[in-house]
C-alpha cells in the first residue's frame, strides 16, 4: 500500500499491460516532442526571437520619425501611418494605448518593432487572436505578413493598471491595388 513500506525487493520487471501503456505514452510524447522543433523549421507561423535592447526614449524617437514620414491620416486623435514595407514599423505600448494606427498592405512582409514605454503589456491582435509580449527596455521584432484585408484591433492582455481595459489600438490591412489607387 502507498502508506506502507514496500517489500524488500520492489524493483521488478514491468508486466505486459505496463509495458504497453508506457510504450504508447513514450511514442505519444516523442511525437509531441518532435512536433515543435519540426514545425518551427518548416511551419508558416512561429514566434520570432529577434530582440534588441532599447531605451524607451530612443524607441519613442523612432516612432515619431516614422509617423512624420508616413502619416496618411488621423482617427480619434491617433495618427494613421502607412509605412513602406521595406522599412521598419514601430508600435509603441504605454499606459493605456497602442500607438500609432498602422496601415499595412496585404501580402507584403513587414518587420514590426514592439516595445513598451512603461510597464509590461500584452500585444493581442483581434479577432485573429495573435499574442505577444511587449516589455519595456526590449525591442521585439515580429515578422508579419498580413494575409487578410480589413480592420483589426490590438487589445492589451497583460494587466497594466486601472486603464488596462481601455487599452485598445487599431490596425488596417489594405489590398495592395486599392492602396495604390488612393
Amino acid at each position: 500500500m502507498a502508506i506502507r513500506e514496500p517489500e524488500r525487493i520492489w524493483w521488478k520487471p514491468f508486466s505486459k499491460d505496463e509495458r504497453m501503456w508506457v510504450t504508447v505514452a513514450v511514442v505519444w510524447m516523442l511525437v509531441s516532442f518532435l512536433f515543435m522543433p519540426i514545425y518551427h523549421l518548416y511551419g508558416a507561423q512561429n514566434p520570432p526571437s529577434e530582440t534588441y535592447k532599447v531605451e524607451p526614449e530612443a524607441f519613442d524617437k523612432l516612432v515619431t520619425k516614422m509617423i512624420d514620414k508616413y502619416k496618411v491620416g488621423e482617427e480619434n486623435g491617433f495618427p494613421i501611418v502607412h509605412p513602406d514595407p521595406n522599412e521598419p514599423v514601430f508600435i509603441r505600448a504605454q499606459m493605456w494605448q497602442w500607438y500609432p494606427i498602422i496601415e499595412f498592405e496585404k501580402g507584403k512582409t513587414y518587420r514590426v518593432h514592439l516595445s513598451s514605454m512603461d510597464i509590461q503589456h500584452g500585444f493581442s491582435v483581434q479577432p485573429i487572436n495573435l499574442n505577444f509580449m511587449a516589455l519595456p527596455g526590449y525591442d521585439y521584432v515580429l515578422k508579419l505578413t498580413p494575409t487578410t484585408s480589413g480592420e483589426f484591433h490590438i487589445v492589451c492582455n497583460e494587466y497594466c493598471g486601472v486603464g488596462h481595459h481601455t487599452m485598445v489600438g487599431k490596425i488596417y490591412v489594405k489590398d495592395a491595388a486599392k492602396t495604390a489607387a488612393n
Partner: protein, 503 residues
C-alpha cells in the same frame, strides 16, 4: 522514551503522535480558512467577469483578483501541503515529529506572511496581480509578506526531510519510504528548489521596492518568477498524485501495482519539470527560439510522461484492490461497485479525470510554441490552470480532508449526505468554469480584464457573440463550484467542532 503520547488511528491502524497531530490540525484549519477567503474572492471576481452581472467596481476587481490568486493558489494549497508533508513524514511512518518548535515557527511565519499580504492588498497598496511583474511596483510590505510566507513553507519542506531521517533512525521504515511519502519527498525536493527561485526574485523585488536596487530587468523577472510560479505547481502535482495513491490505499486498500513504475515517474517530475516552466515565456522577447524549444519541448514531455504513468498506475491499483475484494465479474464490475458514495474516493476519481482531461491535455497543447501564439494570456490560460489547480489539486485535497477529519481530528463527518454530493457538485462547477474560460479564450477574450466591452477605449471592438454563452457558462460554473466550496468548508469546520468523536 515516553510512549504514552501516541494513539492508534482506528480507521487506518496508523500510529499518531500527539505533537504531529496538533501541528497537522492547525495547518489544515489554516488551509480551510484561506480557502474560504479565496473562494469568496473567486465568487466576486467571477461575477464581475460574467458580463451580464459585472458586479464589482474597477479597482475592487483587480484588488480582489490579486487576493484571490494569493489565497486560493498560494495560501490554501501550501498550508494543506504542510499538513500533507508532516502527515507523510510522521503519521505514515508511525514516528513522532522531531523539532516541533521549528514546525510551529514555520506555521507562524506562513500565518504572518499570509495575513500581511492580504492586509496590504485589501488596503489597495498592491494592485499588482499574483505575478507582480516588474516594473509594476507594490508596497514593500507586500514583497515582505511573500518572503515570510515562502520562508515558512521552505522550513516546512525541510522539516519533512528532518523527520524522514529521524524516522529511519527510529525504525519508522527500514529501507524504502512508503510510496505516499516518496511522492511527498519528490514534492518537498521540488518545493525547496522552487522556493529558492522565489527568494531569487522576491528578495531583489523587495529591495527594489525600497529603492535599494534601481532597476529590475522585466525579462529576467519573468524568467525567475516562473521558476517559482510554475514549479510550485509541480509541488502541487506531486502532492496531489501522492494523495491519489494514499487515498486509494486508505479507501480501497489499493496497492501500487508496480512500485518501480510509480517511483520512476516521481523522479521524472523532479528532474524535468522545473526547466519546463519556460513555456510561460514562449512569446516573450529575449530568449532564443532553441532555448525555448529545448526547455519546453524536451523537458516538458518527460514530465508529462510521468503524469501519463500515474494516470495508468493509480486506476490500476484501485482496480486490482477492488477485484481482490470480490468484484471480479466482467470487465467493469469493479468500476460499478467502487465506493462512489465515499467523498474521499469520489474526489480522487474526479480529480484524476479532470486533471488529466481538462488541465493536463490543455497544458501540453498551450505549452507548444505555435499554439501558444494563439492562447498566451487569453482566458484559455485561466481555464487551463483552473483545470489543474482547482479541478485537480483542490478537489484531491478536499477528498483527503475527509480522511484527515476522522484520522487526525478524531471526528466523524457531519452531514454525510451532503458530503457525498460535495465532490460532484464542486467538480461539475469547476469543469463548467474551466471549459467556459477555455472556449472564450479561443475567441481571444483576455485574462485579468475588467471589461471586455472596452468601454472608454479610443476604439470600440466587439468579440464574437459566441463568447456570451461561454462567459455565462463560466459564471454558472463558478456559482456551482462556490456552492460546493461552501459545503466543503461547512462540513470541514462543522465536523471538527460538532462531529461525533471517533474512539
Amino acid at each position: 522514551m515516553a510512549n504514552q503520547d501516541f494513539r492508534i488511528c482506528s480507521e487506518s491502524g496508523l500510529k499518531v503522535y500527539k505533537n504531529a497531530e496538533t501541528l497537522i490540525k492547525w495547518n489544515v484549519i489554516a488551509a480551510l480558512a484561506t480557502l474560504a477567503v479565496g473562494g469568496l474572492m473567486a465568487l466576486l471576481v467571477a461575477l464581475t467577469r460574467w458580463p451580464s452581472v459585472h458586479l464589482l467596481g474597477l479597482t475592487e476587481y483587480y484588488r480582489f483578483l490579486t487576493a484571490h490568486g494569493v489565497d486560493a493558489l498560494l495560501a490554501w494549497i501550501l498550508f494543506f501541503e504542510m499538513a500533507l508533508v508532516y502527515f507523510a513524514s510522521t503519521v505514515v511512518l508511525g514516528t513522532r515529529f522531531r523539532g516541533v518548535v521549528v514546525g510551529w515557527i514555520s506555521f507562524a511565519l506562513m500565518l504572518i506572511g499570509g495575513a500581511l499580504i492580504n492586509v496590504i492588498i485589501i488596503m489597495g497598496r498592491a494592485d499588482v496581480m499574483f505575478t507582480s511583474y516588474a516594473p509594476l511596483k507594490a508596497d514593500p510590505l507586500y514583497y515582505l509578506g511573500v518572503i515570510l510566507f515562502a520562508v515558512g513553507a521552505l522550513i516546512g519542506f525541510i522539516m519533512f526531510f528532518v523527520n524522514v531521517v529521524y524516522a529511519k533512525r527510529d525504525g519508522g521504515f527500514k529501507r524504502s519510504l512508503p510510496l505516499g511519502s516518496f511522492g511527498l519527498a519528490a514534492a518537498s525536493i521540488i518545493g525547496v528548489l522552487t522556493l529558492a527561485h522565489g527568494a531569487g526574485i522576491f528578495i531583489p523585488a523587495f529591495l527594489w521596492s525600497l529603492d535599494f536596487i534601481g532597476y529590475i530587468d522585466p525579462s529576467a523577472y519573468r524568467l525567475v518568477f516562473w521558476g517559482l510560479g510554475h514549479s510550485s505547481q509541480q509541488i502541487n502535482v506531486c502532492a496531489m498524485v501522492a494523495v491519489w495513491y494514499m487515498t486509494s490505499a486508505f479507501v480501497v486498500g489499493g496497492k501500487p501495482v508496480n512500485e518501480k513504475l510509480s517511483r520512476t515517474a516521481f523522479v521524472l517530475y523532479i528532474l524535468f519539470i522545473n526547466l519546463a516552466s519556460e513555456h510561460h515565456l514562449l512569446v516573450d522577447p529575449v530568449l532564443s527560439t532553441w532555448h525555448k524549444i529545448v526547455n519546453t519541448s524536451y523537458m516538458m514531455h518527460l514530465a508529462v510522461l510521468a503524469s501519463m504513468i500515474h494516470a495508468f498506475a493509480i486506476p490500476a491499483s484501485i482496480e486490482v484492490a477492488l477485484r481482490k475484494q470480490g468484484f471480479r465479474s466482467g470487465l467493469f464490475e469493479w468500476f460499478k461497485k467502487a465506493p462512489w458514495g465515499n467523498p474521499a474516493f469520489a474526489a480522487v476519481a474526479l480529480s484524476i479525470l479532470l486533471f488529466g482531461f481538462l488541465g493536463g491535455i490543455t497544458g501540453v497543447i498551450f505549452g507548444t510554441e505555435q499554439f501558444n501564439i494563439i492562447r498566451h494570456n487569453t482566458f484559455a490560460i485561466t481555464g487551463h490552470f483552473h483545470g489543474t489547480v482547482v479541478a485537480g489539486t483542490t478537489i484531491a485535497f478536499m477528498g483527503f480532508t475527509y480522511l484527515l477529519i476522522p484520522c487526525i481530528f478524531k471526528r466523524q463527518l457531519i452531514w454525510k449526505g451532503f458530503a457525498q454530493i460535495q465532490p460532484y457538485l464542486y467538480a461539475v462547477g469547476v469543469a463548467m468554469l474551466s471549459i467556459g474560460m477555455m472556449s472564450a479564450g479561443a475567441f481571444g477574450v483576455p485574462r485579468r480584464h475588467y471589461d471586455i466591452t472596452f468601454s472608454g477605449a479610443p476604439f470600440s471592438f466587439t468579440f464574437d457573440p459566441a463568447i456570451d454563452m461561454f462567459m455565462s457558462m463560466m459564471g454558472v460554473g463558478a456559482l456551482l463550484a462556490v456552492a460546493g466550496g461552501v459545503l466543503f468548508i461547512l462540513i470541514g469546520f462543522g465536523s471538527m467542532i460538532w462531529g461525533k468523536e471517533v474512539k
